[in-house]
């Protein structure tokens, strides 16, 4: 291959004016191929980020949306950081709870589950059925996943309360509404998102477990280790990078995810997502920003709330590149023996 390449360059060098023309074309050509992608990246990513930053310093709302005669203000950030918006502390509390608990499902629970599916279950077909079942919540369109949960938790038509009573949970413990009763709504919030997140961890972990050289595990088994010892001493230490990757990646996407909350509490609560989510105590940071923009039409303030996430996101991504390096980010399931 390098030989042919050199031959081609020699050909190009044969006449000087043609060569400079050709080399210029060679320089421009890649960008012609890249042009559509660059334009679309600017349209969908870069300009919204810049606009979010700009908007967060303005008082844009429904009143001046059409004329766009905005004025510069720091009020939005005062509302957030000086807590002039009395609801901010609660949103922050719910967000921290939400991210921390779903994250622990995604990282720790998914790890145990993946080891069970990919290592403890030796039957390939059974293992595949389990894996596909865990993937269902991720591949179903979000609104259907939400519909299924809205049905499942329904106190009269749904099955959740029936199943729990069958499992021996006393009736007095069950809420009259899983959507609105306080600790239950939070529990639901974590479980609904936990299923989706657990499948992410599972994909990464099972791929990593499958890529562990069998010799390592066999050596331990021959030495008389039990399966549990193999898991603890061989498999889990080897999964260091995948675990770190799942943690890092999911922290970022959880902070920004609110689609399922909007769908379940919005549709399940009859359409007014803003009020219902607030009443149920499931208003996370990103949903609060969405609510401020599209239910209360305070675009400037909403952009400022988003801006906090944008900044955190950019900082975290920079840290991830430092910690992981490009290669590890690319192949999160690779095991380093």
């Amino acid at each position: 291959m390098p030989l042919i390449r050199r031959g081609h360059e020699k050909n190009a060098d044969s006449s000087s004016s043609e060569a400079s023309k050709a080399s210029r074309r060679k320089k421009i050509l890649p960008f012609l191929f890249l042009l559509p992608m660059l334009i679309f990246i600017c349209f969908s990513w870069i300009s919204p980020v810049i606009l979010t930053i700009y908007l967060s310093f303005t008082d844009l709302s429904i009143k001046n949306l059409l004329k766009f005669n905005v004025k510069y203000t720091l009020e939005n950030f005062e509302k957030i950081f000086l807590v002039e918006d009395p609801y901010i502390p609660e949103v922050l509390k719910i967000t921290v709870f939400y991210v921390a608990s779903v994250l622990s499902i995604n990282v720790v629970y998914a790890l145990i589950m993946s080891v069970a599916i990919a290592y403890l279950v030796k039957n390939e077909i059974l293992s595949m059925i389990l894996r596909l079942s865990w993937l269902l919540p991720r591949i179903t369109p979000g609104i259907i996943y939400a519909l299924l949960w809205i049905w499942f938790i329904d106190p009269t038509a749904g099955m959740l309360n029936k199943l729990l009573m069958l499992a021996g949970v006393p009736k007095s413990w069950l809420p009259s509404s899983w959507l609105l009763d306080k600790p239950y709504a939070q529990l639901l919030l974590v479980i609904v998102n936990g299923y989706v997140g657990a499948s992410f961890g599972m994909i990464i972990y099972t791929a990593a477990i499958k890529s562990i050289p069998p010799d390592l595990i066999n050596a331990a088994l021959v030495d008389g280790a039990t399966d549990f010892q193999v898991v603890r001493r061989v498999i889990i230490p080897l999964l260091k990078w995948p675990i770190l990757f799942v943690t890092a990646w999911q922290t970022l996407s959880l902070m920004a995810s609110y689609e399922y909350i909007l769908m379940i509490w919005g549709a399940g609560g009859g359409g007014g997502y803003a009020g219902v989510a607030r009443a149920a105590g499931v208003m996370v940071w990103s949903l609060y920003s969405y609510t401020k923009a599209f239910a209360e039409y305070q675009y400037g303030y909403a952009a400022a709330i988003s801006m906090v996430l944008v900044v955190i996101g950019i900082i975290l991504i920079m840290i991830y590149f430092r910690v992981f390096g490009f290669k590890r980010l690319m192949a999160p399931s690779r095991v380093e023996v």
Binding site: H8, L29, M37, F43, P48, I143, A303, F326
Partner: protein, 298 residues
């Protein structure tokens, strides 16, 4: 002798205990939590053919009446919801538009990333990964303002086109990345042969290389199609005219109004909407999995 035998017995008992313990762990961690999920999906299927609302997962009074939305308008009291077929066409339009644009953008971009030397190549690749990690969902407000300023907001089909542009932009970095992997696997010799025969780079790309990576093109086409097919937030937020709803948004509004009255029909509509996803997924499960890892879902 006795000692050895005893040891063996002990080991045997330990082994059985160990195996039982293993199964308990598997059942507790990986099987029991799946029961609700299995119940939900079974319910969705059997409910859609049931004559009345069922509590369990066993259908009763088999009927196809729930599927009447396929040929009759959906009515609720005096309110009549839009017919399902125009809505399905809107959804298809969004999904196919996104898919077509993404394939066009990323086969070009992925080729340059894979085969060409240019300044800032590494930076661009790092940037693409960074974009992939960045949750675009928080940029919805700014995108709203952009659509508004471009005059694409509240204009029916034009708004849907605007959403296609946004959606394609959001998907194309990842798609280019995936397709780059496919380009990487094509030997250079094939391309050089084409170039020596007098093809330009563009012709070589279109005539020689693209046909070789059709599986990859298919994968990103399906992936972006599904992504457009399930897109909810963008349409929910930007499209206010019922005629231009897509299926997920229609279902969202139907849940709000029908859930106390007509679970059976909701289930049928839900199943109708999910079927393409399930078909596509079962067809191209392996490649899609690789892509789904990167989704920005919870």
């Amino acid at each position: 002798m006795m000692g050895v035998k005893e040891k063996k017995m002990k080991a045997g008992r330990g082994y059985i205990l160990h195996t039982i313990l293993k199964y308990i762990v598997v059942i507790l961690v990986a099987v029991i939590p799946l029961i609700p999920i299995w119940c939900m999906y079974l319910w969705l299927i059997s409910q859609s053919f049931s004559g009345r609302v069922i509590l369990g997962i066993v259908p009763s009074n088999f009927t196809i009446n729930n599927w009447r939305f396929l040929w009759a308008p959906i009515k609720m009291g005096l309110k009549e919801y839009p017919n399902i077929w125009p809505i399905t066409i809107n959804t298809l339009f969004l999904a196919l538009g996104t898919s077509g644009l993404v394939v066009f953008i990323s086969t070009l971009g992925g080729y340059a990333l894979s085969r060409m030397e240019f300044k800032g190549r590494t930076t661009l690749m790092e940037f693409i990964i960074a974009l992939h990690a960045f949750p675009a969902i928080i940029l919805l407000i700014a995108m709203f303002i952009i659509l508004n300023k471009l005059g694409l907001y509240g204009k029916g089909i034009i708004t849907l086109m605007g959403i296609i542009l946004i959606k394609a932009g959001l998907e194309c970095p990842m798609a280019s990345w995936i397709i780059k992997g496919f380009f990487d696997s094509i030997p250079w010799d094939i391309e050089w042969a084409a170039l020596v025969d007098g093809c330009s780079r563009l012709t070589a790309w279109r005539r020689v290389i693209l046909p070789l990576i059709l599986p990859g093109v298919g994968a990103i086409a399906i992936f972006s199609f599904l992504s457009g097919w399930s897109e909810f937030l963008l349409v929910f937020t930007y499209v206010k005219d019922e005629t231009y709803y897509t299926l997920p948004v229609l279902i969202y509004h139907l849940i709000g109004e029908f859930k106390f009255i007509d679970w059976v029909m909701l289930a049928a509509i839900g199943l109708f909407y999910t079927i393409p996803t399930l078909i596509f997924f079962s067809v191209s499960q392996k490649v899609l999995l690789r892509i789904y890892v990167g989704g920005v879902k919870g």
